[in-house]
């Protein structure tokens, strides 16, 4: 034992080494458990369907109405399929907005009547009313009480179950964060700096309060918030290690993000309110873009900062939320107007702003989200193809004509040849990743923090080096899970408004992560975007929570 201790300066060092040795294994296991516990319910709980009403046919058959927005028609993709030759493929949309049922004719040949009166535009339908689709009569009636009671009972059980599971997952998340914080304290010298334990204490307290508040308010599953906490904890670990000076700022951003999330989630829960608030967001975004163009300041080649003296922020980050909302529409509107002019105009304004402030990476993210949203909106593959090829051409032109972008592409694929010039950041990221192995060298013991933007653009390398490839991939998997979650919740979504908002937000998360991770390791050109929730940066953090609220809104 003496011989062992003599290798260390003191016995304390030995204890610290042992601690790092153990958590290198323990933390990936914990993170994996958190991920697994979050993923599994996605496959289990989805069979549960709530019936809002029934459509009774003349022959006595009844059709359950399971969504707030139901496409009725002959098409296989209709929610209520009526396979009769005189029914149009997309005949009508039956919606439940603001506690009222309404039906909208989608320009069908046979027409729509409500109680025998022609319903050209959106027409209210009350329980007991007769809807006639091209001569086919059906009556809208509420679900029978008995059934509902049984179902509610079911729900109570399943919700209390999910309460228990989510509190265990939450506990795992907290344990993970405590272990990580202790590791940083150890490797950055104990006692000398109280900022790390203080920041983590406040953070854990904040997430506990948020957890209790949210749980009390909502009976929905709690997976997204828990994973949000998990990622935020990781961003604190990264900031504590790479930029300790920004620790409190990041902590404040996380708390602000949680507040934004809570408010936004509550505000848009009501569809009518959400549709109105969308225009407020777009107006604010327009102001932010104008401000950025006029008083924006340039850092690292992009003029994407605003300095208000007491606070600096990146307006285009905040615009992302408005951008996603701008593309949303309820199903009836989506199928009647098919008019995307407002969204395209808004997107155009965003692209012009991004081009003027020379933020190429963010432009790619916006464009990707634009493609996803416009496809969700129109479902038109030809338009999609046209848009993508036009963008590819535009991108090509941008790369060829703009030297500052061309420089970034020049090193792409050959970063080791330019290891100390234009490939500096990528090679250092790969060196860091290789140094970390699968389990990392231990939090706070890396070297990548010496490289500029290690905690933002190169954060994947920092994750790999200090916490290992396994944990880095789990973090990436969590963000991919957000996207899968958005896809899954679209199936049973209340409104296409939320479905588009969720998928658009998920697209932004996914594209940012793709560009950041693959860019920093030279699979893609380095474009300098952040990883949502993970990278150091206040505006990015708040935006991430905002977008998460939109993903959450689609959940039922």
């Amino acid at each position: 034992m003496d011989a062992v201790i003599s290798l260390f300066d003191t016995g304390v060092d030995l204890v610290f080494s042992l601690y790092t040795f153990i958590i290198r294994w323990l933390m990936p296991l914990l993170a994996f458990a958190v991920l697994l516990r979050s993923i599994l319910p996605l496959w289990q709980d989805r069979k549960h369907k709530k019936t809002w009403a029934f459509l009774y046919l003349v022959n006595g058959d009844r059709i359950p109405v399971n969504n707030w927005e139901n496409l009725i028609g002959r098409s296989k993709l209709a929610d209520i399929v009526i396979n009769l030759p005189f029914i149009s493929r997309n005949h009508a949309v039956l919606t439940f907005h603001d506690r009222h049922w309404q039906i909208t004719d989608l320009g069908s040949k046979g027409g729509v009547l409500v109680n025998g009166e022609k319903a050209d535009k959106k027409t209210a339908v009350n329980f007991g009313d007769t809807i006639t689709l091209a001569g086919l009569d059906m009556t809208l009636l509420p679900p029978d009480d008995e059934r509902e009671a049984v179902e509610n009972n079911d729900e109570e059980n399943s919700y209390s179950f999910s309460h228990a599971t989510s509190s265990i997952t939450f506990l795992l998340v907290i344990v993970f964060q405590v272990l990580g914080a202790l590791q940083i304290c150890i490797s950055r010298g104990t006692g000398k700096n109280a900022a790390v334990p203080a920041a983590f204490l406040v953070f854990i307290l904040a997430e506990c309060i948020h957890y209790v508040l949210m749980r009390r308010r909502s009976k929905k599953s709690f997976v997204l918030e828990l994973l949000g906490y998990f990622l935020c904890g990781f961003s604190l670990l990264i900031v504590a290690s790479a930029a300790p000076g920004a620790l409190y700022k990041q902590l404040a951003a996380i708390i602000a993000g949680m507040v934004v999330y809570t408010i936004l989630e509550a505000v848009i829960a009501d569809l009518g309110r959400a549709q109105k608030i969308k225009y407020v967001f777009m107006a604010v975004a327009a102001v932010l873009m104008l401000l950025n163009l006029t008083i924006g300041e340039t850092y690292f080649g992009s003029k994407n900062w605003i300095n208000l003296g007491f606070i600096t922020f990146q307006p285009m980050e905040l615009v992302k939320v408005a951008f996603v909302l701008a593309g949303t529409a309820t199903l009836d509107r989506l199928l009647t107007t098919r008019n995307m002019t407002a969204f395209i105009a808004f997107a155009g304004a965003c692209f012009v702003t991004l081009a003027l402030i020379r933020d190429f990476g963010t432009a790619v993210v916006f464009f990707g989200a634009f493609v996803v949203i416009s496809f969700m909106y129109s479902g038109d593959i030809r338009t999609l193809f046209f848009v993508v090829s036009a963008a590819a051409f535009g991108g090509f032109a941008a790369v060829s004509f703009m030297p500052y972008i061309a420089a970034r592409f020049a090193a792409w694929g050959n970063v080791w040849q330019y290891a100390d010039t234009s490939g500096y950041q990528q090679t250092r990221t790969m060196i860091a990743a290789a140094s970390g192995g699968l389990l990392g060298v231990g939090g706070g013991k890396g070297n990548l923090y010496r490289v500029a933007a290690a905690d933002t653009d190169l954060v994947f390398g920092l994750l790999c080096e200090e916490w290992g490839l396994v944990l880095a991939l789990i973090v990436v998997a969590v963000i991919v899970f957000f996207t899968v979650h958005a896809v899954f919740s679209t199936k049973n979504c209340r409104s296409s408004f939320y479905a588009i908002a969720a998928c658009g937000s998920a697209a932004i998360f996914l594209l940012q992560t793709t560009l950041n991770v693959l860019g920093s390791v030279d699979i893609l050109p380095l474009t300098g975007v952040t990883v949502p929730f993970i990278s150091n940066g206040g505006t990015s953090m708040i935006t991430s929570w905002g977008l998460l609220a939109l993903i959450k809104s689609a959940e039922w």
Binding site: A434, T483, L510
Partner: protein
Amino acid sequence: MKLLSTRTAVLMLLIVLFVLGLAAFNIRYFNSAFAWAHSHANRHYYKNGMLSVRGTVYDRNGDVLLMLDGESIEFNAEKDVRTAVMHVTGDREGSVSTGVLSALKGRLTGWNLFSGAYSFHKKSRSELTLTIDSGLCRAAYREMKGRKGAVGIYNYETGEIICLISSPSFDPQNPPDVEGNPEKYEGVYLNRFLSSAYTPGSIFKLVTAAAALENIPDIENKHYLCEGRIAIGPDSITCLKAHGRVSLQEALAVSCNTFFAGTALELGAETLQKYAEACGFNNSLEVDGIRTAAGKINLKNAVGADLGWAGAGQYTTTANPLNFMAFMGAIAGGGEMVRPRLIADDSSSFFDFKPGKKVLKRETADKLKAMMRNNTITSYGEEKFKDLELCAKSGTAEVGGGKEPHAWFAGFLDRKDCPLAFAVIIENGITSRAAADVAARVLQEAAKALKQGRNL
């Protein structure tokens, strides 16, 4: 919501693309992480471009060859030793790419895919024991007397390389002005034993003999009349003198060119090529991860006198000293070649243990062994190699360009208690005797060391 649900396919497509990109990164990671981690920019391992890990490299007797303490790299205390083993240890600047400091840096850093650069305690040291005997290396280097060339000896039963020197060398503790003395330090960063390939000259006759033994019926009892020269087409093959009536064994002992030229023509280019490749030509070996240069042979266009000269080792063919030494080991080992290695008690070689590679038929190997023993007795002088049971072949390789020929001497000791195979090459050594003299003294030294109880 079915309609919108189908339209989320575009999002799924983005996920698939991202996952594919991640897979591409992971494949690159698993293939290249070693190289990334050992980039000179990695602060875990390098400071100002110099290896900054802690570790010690020992020779087989526990003598320190290299001492790394994180700040500096120290070599053996004795100048002659560190000069002799410089090509094995490498230099501080990493100019010797086959040295431990470059080629085996992974052993010093301890990096692996699983743990990366993690170490349990801050001051962890790596320990590496090599198979070489530094005293023997010093002796061999002294025997070279500044001439350019290389000496290598290995145990053909265990594969351990006990002597590996390349001349010229320099003191890595106090590196000289190499660029200022291009003549003196020509190719000094090259380990000539591992990374060079020379015209083999007469030592190649062993390959021709092996092919003849297996392909020409009753070759051992045939006799041939050497008149000192034979004409093949417009060209001719010559011997130093007319050797008269010679058998295969006698032809090998006197190194009769015309005999082996005739044999090569009888065998044909294809057969000779096949045997040369089996004996290690056109093949590089890996010594604990250090790749050797390959000797080259290409007889595709060799006809007439060219093929004849090729049979006598004088064509475009080249031989790498280490590969040829391994071929000697194969003859000694009854046709089976044990791969030479440099790292002692290597746990990793336990896992990728490969049985000896079959190079020759056992009886062919034994016949060659007997003939090589006869070479020593009748041609090289048994008194010089007293008690060594030496089996060998000398070679004088004409290099043209008005330069003196290279001197080769290669073979093995047919002794159970001292199973050593060796190769010596002296550039422009004039006669093969020069190489034989070096071999004699170094092998005697090795035998003496063995008697003294140094575990060879």
